[in-house]
């Protein structure tokens, strides 16, 4: 065999080299904020178990202008999560046939986002009813 000396290119900064990868990283980064929100709720539940005064402190914190502004940012992140989640969901599914024709990925995505809209409205109405 002829002389061989292969060259392996480094992977450092691979995700910065292509807009597709940047969008992928943005999508994955949403999970950091899913955790952050869960921690906020966890703090609330723990404070709740510690009595009215403790819960009052959590409520005060969550009601501050910084918190509201941060939640506005969280809202945008969760909206992006919903959109990107249902965009990738069709890839995890085997072909779904409706009326003899295969359901397009974009249709499944649209159905998912519609489900999220319905669930959100239902949740909001339930909160109003139960509160």
């Amino acid at each position: 065999m002829a002389f061989r000396r292969t060259y392996v290119r480094p992977m450092d900064g691979w995700w910065r080299r292509d807009p597709f990868f940047l969008r992928y990283m943005a999508r994955e980064a949403t999970s950091i904020f899913v955790v952050v929100y869960a921690m906020i709720l966890l703090a609330g539940v723990i404070r709740l178990s510690q009595g009215e005064a403790a819960f009052g402190e959590w409520l005060e914190g969550v009601s501050s202008p910084w918190s509201v502004a941060f939640h506005a940012f969280l809202l945008a992140v969760f909206a992006y999560h919903t959109w990107s989640w249902f965009r990738i969901m069709p890839k995890t599914m085997p072909p779904v046939a409706v009326g003899g024709r295969r359901l397009a990925g974009s249709t499944i995505t649209a159905l998912g986002i519609a489900a999220a809209a319905v669930a959100s409205v239902a949740f909001y109405l339930m909160v109003r009813v139960l509160a």
Partner: protein
């Protein structure tokens, strides 16, 4: 925009590498004439035929079916024969060997890992049962074929491996294209080797290295949709992880 007869010029930058030398890769540029119809492969052939005979690259059919001419064009995996300089005008056009593979020389990559893995997935029908001629042909209705037909279109061009960052980060990953091919055979009603192939799927180097980046399906020249094959198998593998504890399973 030039038409078939007008000749314009464009600069091609190629990442060159000489294994017999002492240096690493370096960029070399040539300015070449091109028309509306000139492909990246033809540009490379022009350079090799008229400007620098040492330029080394793989090619064969010139019509996007052999899978030999995969290269990175401006950082994106393409088949050279099916990628046109007109889409990158005014240039320069940067051509590199397929990403995530070791470079042998210039635009030729070391594909041994891919070829070894190809053999390991048993890319052929292993008959489910002995069948005599008198029993007649297998019957496979169009709806059944439709479920996996796209995965049979793979031409082993490895563009999906060049697109997949998980393969780049960890070459032990089975990878998109071969998982699609594996899935093609698992989905075929005539085949009986699914359990053996699933062993590859269930492993860390199988589907569980995939993080659903999805770039593989974007760059595939044959719309195989390997991302779908891999991620369908994630669901199957996850369900099987629990199903194996059910009574009646080996």
């Amino acid at each position: 925009m030039p038409d078939g007869r007008t000749v314009e010029h464009i600069t091609i930058e190629v990442l060159r590498y000489d294994p017999a030398g002492t240096e690493g890769p370096r960029t070399q540029s040539w300015t070449i004439p091109y028309t509306h119809e000139t492909s990246v492969l033809e540009a490379l052939q022009h350079i090799k035929d008229h400007l620098d005979g040492s330029l080394t690259f793989r090619w064969s059919c010139r019509m996007a079916i052999c899978g030999s001419c995969g290269v990175m064009v401006n950082g994106v995996p393409h088949l050279g024969c099916r990628t046109f300089l007109r889409d990158f005008a005014p240039g320069p056009v940067r051509v590199e060997a397929l990403a995530h593979f070791p470079i042998e020389k210039d635009l030729v990559v070391d594909a041994e890992d891919f070829v070894a893995k190809l053999a390991s997935i048993k890319p052929y029908i292993v008959p489910k049962e002995e069948r005599r001629l008198e029993e007649g042909p297998y019957v496979q209705p169009p709806e059944e074929l439709e479920r996996f037909e796209s995965f049979s279109h793979c031409i082993n061009c490895m563009l999906c491996y060049a697109a997949c960052p998980q393969y780049g980060l960890d070459p032990k990953f089975l990878g998109p294209g071969l998982t699609a091919l594996l899935h093609r055979y698992n989905s075929d009603s005539r085949d009986g080797a699914k359990d053996e192939r699933m062993e590859l799927v269930h492993s860390e180097e199988g589907v569980w290295s995939c993080t659903a980046v999805g770039y593989c399906s974007e760059v595939c020249p044959k719309q195989v949709d390997p991302a779908n094959a891999v991620n369908q198998n994630k669901t199957a593998s996850a369900l099987d992880w629990f199903a194996r504890f059910l009574p009646g399973r080996k």
